[in-house]
Amino acid sequence: MSAGQPPLDSPEIRRLTPVLGPGHTFGSVTDKISSIVLTRPTSLGWYVGFLIAFSVLGVMTIAIGWLIVKGTGIWGINIPIGWGFAIVNFVWWIGIGHAGTLISAILFLLNQKWRTSINRFAEAMTLFAVACAGIFPLIHTGRPWMAYYMFPYPSTMGLWPQFRSPLIWDVFAVSTYGTVSLLFWFVGLIPDLATLRDHAANKPAQIIYGMLAMGWRGSVRHWHRYQSAYLLLAGLATPLVLSVHTVVSFDFAIAIVPGWHTTIFPPYFVAGAIYSGFAMVLTIAIPLRKAYGLEDFITMRHLDNMAKVMLATGLIVAYGYLFEFFLSLYSGNKFDVFLVNQRLHGPYAPYYYALILCNILTPQLLWSYKLRHNVVILFLMSIVVNVGMWLERFVIVVISLTRDFVPSAWGRYQPTFWDWATFIGTMGMFVTLIFLFVRVLPAISIAEMRELVAETSEEEK
């Protein structure tokens, strides 16, 4: 760091990189954000990007179609690796889906103003990531049309789900998380839908936004209850977001498999989820602000703060890796010690070293103020972290399952073409949904931006 630089939290820096660009009024934020949806012509770049993403989504449709025809034999899974890509990708996607609710709920309760311009699309990203995550356990059942077996319903067989199993906890945790995230997102959208209804120039748009806005008119009585509901939802979503990845980690930690059976899993999974979630928010925010000229709303301050959150959670994850090792060696349990050995020297060791490089070493560059303020570096870094977090789940699932207690139960795992097609296909679905979202809904909360304008103009007085 250069010597003449003021401390990062000094008032000078805050003034240099505010959470909102100067000179904005209630009308200007409304017009700027709603114009992206209502008046600006759809750019060629949008069509090209959407077409590419949609084609990749088509790959997913084909891969799942073929899976339904042939069964899970088209994947690389076999005994002893029953989980494979399906669970690796499920955990990866659901982890990404943690940042949205974290930003909306926890940063809301902590009164962090910088969350305002990123919460809407982070919540959308959460919903889409949870949708991608949900596909994997569903198709991993082999007979997705029987998935309703997982829910408690009065069947003629008189059977009920095994409520003592973490897999059933997962069903409840993920479906609750999806539902509550959707509610949170929709409640936040209601006032903005009313704005779009009032600003839309053509009849179909007026009718569609009007129906979705449900006749919202901004009455003080409505706002009063709305704020209560929003605050309560934030309070409810906070423990919920922490519980979801905790329950996902129980899928592993409650089993006796070496490398899985450890009490550090819940906190370290949650930290990893937030880590990858923020990485994905950066991956989306950086091109979004560039494409739509939103640099006034998503300022360097936001990117800087998100990079700091990434750095902090990355260090928690590093601590998790370290302690996993320490506990295995300290316990003296020969299966655990053997697993450590397998991670460092086994057939999948390159994955492990790549994971350390992506998740622990590279993000240390974020300590530098200069690099945090370099948009290109930040973007690349966010991709590196996403790759690293995927590798982490691969290492956890595959190494432990291929090196069980007795050598006769050992095996190898090789993903097939269809494994990759399904995985990459879900990325296509994710990006397609993001493209549609920024085209038809305001990517930044307009009502909350107006509040921010009111607050900043009061501060200036």
Partner: protein, 181 residues
């Protein structure tokens, strides 16, 4: 009083800033008006107090939803494991309550969240496709950059000309009559 209700819903004043609206609401309350409503593009601090709004019912509804979700969730798991399909696994207790906590927690949050959102909408009487305030042309600004105060015709003190004069005295941008059809 009843004759005012025929075609007029109320009189509406439009202000430029949230501060002016809060002052206007305070003055209207001091002047004795009670049946009024304010319309703003974002929640304005201090406006609910100026309008004399007390606590609302949303937290109570949310609490009830959470209790129903939690008690129902635990009770259901208890019933399944103890009554409907008891399985003796090595003599372990049927009511193995620690294993029921994750699902109980999730259903508590689910019940509370559903009640918070749908309770809020129901108490606000939404969805409501039409409302007389939408008859005012300039009301489109209520979702963008203007702040409205509407004194309603069923206020005991309401008198069309006098109320309009009173509102004009607060230096609004515009004053409009709101028709009721």
């Amino acid at each position: 009083m009843e004759q005012h209700r025929s075609h007029i819903y109320g009189v509406m004043a439009e202000f430029d800033t949230p501060v002016e609206l809060v002052h206007a609401a305070e003055k209207a309350r001091t002047a004795g008006y009670r049946r009024m409503d304010a319309y703003t593009p974002f929640p304005v601090e201090g406006l609910a107090e100026a309008m004399g709004l007390k606590r609302n019912m949303v937290p109570l509804v949310t609490l009830l939803g959470g209790l129903a979700g939690g008690l129902g969730g635990f009770g259901f798991q208890y019933w399944v494991n103890v009554a409907a399909y008891p399985m003796n696994i090595g003599g372990r207790p049927l009511n193995s309550w620690p294993a029921f906590i994750p699902v109980t927690f999730e259903l508590t949050v689910l019940g509370a969240s559903l009640c918070a959102v749908f309770g809020m909408l129901a108490l606000n009487r939404l969805p409501q496709p039409h409302h007389p305030v939408f008859n005012v042309q300039r009301f489109v600004h209520a979702s963008s950059d203007r702040f409205f105060l509407c004194i309603e015709a069923h206020d005991p003190k309401f008198h069309l000309e006098e109320t309009a004069r009173f509102l004009k005295g607060l230096h609004p941008h515009h004053v409009n009559e709101v028709s009721d059809d």
